[in-house]
Subunit: 496 residues, 2 copies
Amino acid sequence: MNPMEKLRTLQKKLYSLQYALAVMDFDAQTAAPSGSDEGRSEAMALLSDMKYQLLTDSALPELLQQAEAMELNVQQKAEVRELKRLYKETCCIPAEEYSQFTKLTAKAIGVWQKAREEDNFDLFAPYLEEIIAMRRKMAGYFDASKPAYDVWLDQYEPGLNMEQCDEFFAQLRQVISPLVAKIQALGAEPAPAYLDAEWPLEAQRELSLELAQLMQIDLDHCAIAESAHPFTTEFYKGDVRITTHYDQRDVTNNLFSIVHEGGHALYELHTADRLQYTCLASGASMGIHESQSRFYENYLARNLAFVEHLWPTLQRLFPVQLQGVEPESFHRAINRCEPGLIRIEADELTYSLHVMVRYEVEKQLMDGSLNVQELPAAWNKAMKDLLGVDVPSDKLGVLQDIHWAGGDFGYFPSYALGTAYAAQLFAKMKEEVPVESLLRKGDFAPINQWLEERIWKYGKEKLPGELLQDAFGEPFSSVYYTDYLKEKFSHLYRLN
Amino acid sequence: MNPMEKLRTLQKKLYSLQYALAVMDFDAQTAAPSGSDEGRSEAMALLSDMKYQLLTDSALPELLQQAEAMELNVQQKAEVRELKRLYKETCCIPAEEYSQFTKLTAKAIGVWQKAREEDNFDLFAPYLEEIIAMRRKMAGYFDASKPAYDVWLDQYEPGLNMEQCDEFFAQLRQVISPLVAKIQALGAEPAPAYLDAEWPLEAQRELSLELAQLMQIDLDHCAIAESAHPFTTEFYKGDVRITTHYDQRDVTNNLFSIVHEGGHALYELHTADRLQYTCLASGASMGIHESQSRFYENYLARNLAFVEHLWPTLQRLFPVQLQGVEPESFHRAINRCEPGLIRIEADELTYSLHVMVRYEVEKQLMDGSLNVQELPAAWNKAMKDLLGVDVPSDKLGVLQDIHWAGGDFGYFPSYALGTAYAAQLFAKMKEEVPVESLLRKGDFAPINQWLEERIWKYGKEKLPGELLQDAFGEPFSSVYYTDYLKEKFSHLYRLN
């Protein structure tokens, strides 16, 4: 076998271990009995260790060098690049510290759940302190020349740093804050009374399938399951799973979960066949992935044309609940702007403000200018500054997200960034594809095809920057996102 | 690490790979989208190969020898014994042939499904011929001094051979055939009309949970899922899964599936904690496992005392369907004897005759005295001889079971043997535990405890022969089974 063939064998082994770990995690969240954590953790730790052994094999650097000396095509070069990154990231952390960190975060997630339930930040604080200390130390292993937070931003979104984030969020704030202020000056707009109803689960389950079919998600290769929190996972491009959570009192929850996760799923279902079983066979980055889910959720499903197409289906499934309701009213209801406390319940306009709150405090926690004891107060102040809301409890404030307990610092910005990528994709697509008239007809094929050609099929072959540049025909700019928000919400609230 | 500690590390790695393979198989049968086989097969083949590499490690024989030279306790001795067996079984087959066999049977299962659907034995015949040829060759690798079929009987039930099976089945036939003849002489007894009804799925699902609770199956460690064919799988003793299949037109199908699979599950849920993560941490053999499932299905759930206890629950869940029906009528209906064509639909009395048909033709296929072309005729003749029925098509005859397509020869006898083990357990238990009065009260604790103490907790630590001898206080004898059948069916059909 030549070096490249040897690397392919390695990638297939990594694939199979990753497959197993993904199925075990999916099973844990959708089907496992409540008391089954212990044996699963043992098995997953050992399988992760097998992955670690493969990636830290002392023969790997030479093999990568030999492969680089060969004449490689674009895909092969990308495989070597990605394997080098994986090798470097895995090797640089001492095995003992990595295992210590895994155990710490596994424990911290349980503690965080309890702390949130009991509204007791002090319970979680010592774990958070230890996690931050370890994350700062680990960032040094990766790249001691950079600030720790830059290291983590780059982990989730290759190429991203604080300088870019600062500029990006400043631009967003400049547009979003005045818009929110103008809308709030109009006075509170309550949700329409018909939304507060019983939405039978059987009909909601049927709606899930109707939405998947409408989006042309191939259900022979994508199954829908139920879990406490919706997510998407891919075992390989022929087996993607999305989950949703049915709430009898809220039909929009499931509707937007399916569309959002469906966007993630379409991406994974359409990576090129040639990437299969390599380390390139999934989405390019967290931000790019989020751009796909947000594209379907915000730019398509919150569009009046989409609601109008879906209306006969909704009327058929919920004839009593939606009796006499017009699609315009529903469209308005799902686009209602109202600053609130919880990120995952935020409307399209205020969503990025929630991300900014996290960005600001994460940055300071990482550079040591904010300590954990001061965090709740800093959180509450940022919420007041950015969203104008008073946080009544840590449960509804700093304790609401799982990310930090899992050690994820620098992840949040990719949510806002992905939403902004999607705005630019939406603008560019509309230059070539009559999106709204297609939505009104329920014809997703040209929309999906456009994204497949520009984004999906490349998997991780292109780095995010290159991928976006090629898709846009120009560099990324947040102006598309801010212009979109300005236009949409000015129109909805007749601000001009 | 000393040799025994090294073997523990090996066992834990085997555990984690086995865990992953079991979850992937369970997921495939319960949750996976229809088109997801390809990538799963690739991943499973690679994980199986990792297991193969661990078990054929050239350092293993010496490690096992070193461990044997240590002072070992009973469990450690059993671990070494089991690892030696695994090493021997894995090493003796050339890797290439093993992989060829895996691919052949994977393909053959698809062909068998098609052949059964189309009632076309010729389609399946060439695959079956190749499987038999490979199985005969592989038996030679295991132990060239024994007839091939003895090798395979011993695989599923350590210690079993044709001599014992011949004697066992002769004893069964001597009792069962005259009983069946006497019952048939009484004339056909149709199933009661009320069974032919709509049995709502929601109520059937609730019945599953009620049955599991009644059997004291800990649902924190055992989940119930749905699949085309019911089965039980264990990831470890803290995570067991049973599946059932709901048939809107048949309530007994699900009822007995849950009780049968529940018996398998109780066994796995109660292996001793000290066996966890070792190769001893699951049931002792196919026959012993089947003895537990049959114990609950036949000896307990087909007992009038059980039906009487369950009656208020059944009446509550199916008030219309069971209106005016007495438990005695239902008990009679679920014990109706009627020779038929399909093994998995057979009643308690004729079940072992179906096994005998398979035993007779398997034996001859393995020693070469019957060739595949002659198989359907031999099958039909055996069905006529043993059950008195005419087989109208291969679909309802020789093509009904999946086992041979999967390469499983010598598996069927363990079904009958397990049922006979259970009869002896039932007789011995009744000497110490008032089984029927406990069933009438719905108190399974003393029953479960008796089995846990004698069977469940040992896992694979004892070999089947020793395990049964210790549990019975005497050697296994088929007389308990034949006496039970004689008494039960003489009483039901008033034959005396």
